[in-house]
Symmetry: C2
Subunit: 316 residues, 2 copies
């Protein structure tokens, strides 16, 4: 039997067919056309799935279920998007809407939760029962697996990026001040770098940024590797902020492993090694309790589809 996985993003809807070994056999995608109604989006997803099935010549009878990862706060058990800022949705019963269009059994989780399940099924979390995934991109996302199952938040939750580490600190996109996201996201790193470049226009960092036509997370890591002091200080502060947030998460969940995904995770050991050093110093009872390995997620862009298609195994 095959499974269908959907990764519903703010930009694209990606759909895939996955086999029982969690191998992604076929995939396709199309623009989300965000800002329209949930009914419209459900129709678009249904179209995409029919197209995928036609092109792959896999029939309804060969498919056991459809899993979907959606942004926002999800009630997994009832299959409802409680709230999605990006989509402007409130209490949307998306699983039911897809079931009525496609007649498959449908399961839904948050997009970060699906990415974690993907890593668990076929990536860096394989074999573990307690894992936290943190994604460092436009925002800081997160998802939590405890005892082999996704935590279900009936009323929303799992918003790891919007936990304050600097009371009265930087203004965050959520309206609060001092959130982990305002310090640990790729966007936060870039903003800090842009500010430092305007203050240090002759730094190597400024030179790299000009050459590359702008700053990305990579620009800052590259300049730091070439001993640029401005960039090194930015990275040091970035890692300490991110490290405080991760140590908080470890003290709360003490998982087997922390996985780091999102754009910044492309820095691999240049990120992981100093981050691990910082985090281990901050963990409660660091000499007595287990310290989780911190490592990069393995599946990249396909984690969400593979995870959505494996949801059945990881939801109670």
């Amino acid at each position: 039997m095959y499974r269908l996985g959907i990764d519903l993003g703010g930009t694209n809807i990606k759909a895939g067919i996955v086999n029982e070994k969690h191998e992604l056999l076929y995939q396709c995608s199309e623009p989300t056309d965000v800002g329209r109604t949930a009914e419209y989006t459900a129709d678009r997803i249904a179209c995409l799935i029919r197209k995928l099935m036609e092109e792959s010549k896999i029939t309804r009878e060969e498919i056991s279920f459809l899993g979907i990862g959606s942004p926002g706060a999800i009630d997994i058990k009832r299959g409802i998007v409680l709230f999605s800022n990006n989509f402007g949705w409130d209490n949307v019963p998306l699983t039911e809407m897809l079931h009525s269009r496609l007649s498959f059994p449908v399961l839904m989780a948050n997009d970060a939760q699906c990415a974690l399940i993907g890593e668990l099924a076929a990536g860096a979390a394989a074999g573990h029962k307690n894992v936290v995934l943190i994604t460092l991109g436009t925002g800081v996302g997160g998802s939590i697996l405890t005892d082999g199952k996704l935590l279900n938040y009936e009323k929303g939750g799992g918003i790891l990026g919007h936990t304050v580490i600097h009371k009265n600190g930087r203004k965050c996109s959520c309206g609060r001040r001092g959130c982990l996201e305002a310090y640990g996201s790729a966007s936060a790193l870039i903003q800090t770098a842009e500010k430092c470049i305007s203050e240090n226009p002759h730094s190597l960092l400024a030179e790299y940024a000009e050459k590359q036509g702008g700053v990305t997370g990579k620009t800052v890591f590259d300049a730091a590797k070439e001993q640029d002091i401005t960039a090194q200080n930015i990275i040091k502060e970035y890692i300490s902020d991110l490290g405080e947030g991760i140590a908080n998460i470890i003290n709360i969940f003490r998982p087997d492993k922390i996985l780091i995904g999102g754009g910044i995770s492309n820095q691999k050991e240049d990120l992981i090694s100093p981050l691990t050093d910082y985090v281990y110093e901050q963990c409660f009872a660091k000499d007595k309790l287990y310290l989780p390995k911190i490592e990069c997620a393995a599946l990249g862009n396909t984690a969400g589809i593979i995870g959505a298609a494996a949801l059945e195994q990881y939801i109670d």
Copy 2:
């Protein structure tokens, strides 16, 4: 059938017999005599239970199981105290040690977890499946119920008090800087008040402290109620710090309810009302997602025994 509950504290061991309605029928206690080996403590617990059974004339056959709440990081499933700072214990298989002495089935959880289970069985959490208890005493303790079960931390966890809300802030007893405990505990409130008294020796707060022979949490709340500006500022800052920590917890777990226990919870509405106002302002998607009611725990000192005696129902 009856159940036995043990609340193992740093000062006293309390034991009780509880019926199926979660009513505490008999109880007794004796000093813990802390700092000795786990074997010694297990013997003391066994003695106390035999005494309780003899005095209550309840026989072995009438007792279904023994539950125990212990300080520290507990692996619920394996019944092991992973680490307890107060007791100086590492990887102590306390349930097995008690089982071999008493032959009852034994279950163990953290003391704060037992208090939460007590509140769930017969107190302020009754009827709910997702609740977080936060205790404001010498430290800031916490425990988390999700989907009707205690989160089990195989490797330690649930250390809500040692999550940083003020990076590079006050030194905490755990070695880290800026933890919730360093701002939200009764001890933190008292320390701030003592500092303010030395700076404002003519304040009403200073006068109250002198009359009462020292500062407690109550001293500060009392002076604030009488319009003492020094005390009001302390309370305002205290509530905002505590509120940041609680908003973080809501964003992660979004429970049905937040319960507040420990000494400071005696301030009832003088604490709960301004705290709720502050927290609700800080919650993610505050206009869209459910906002948990914040209220005081109901059972006080007996929550731990009643909860320990009810563990069987709330552990997977």
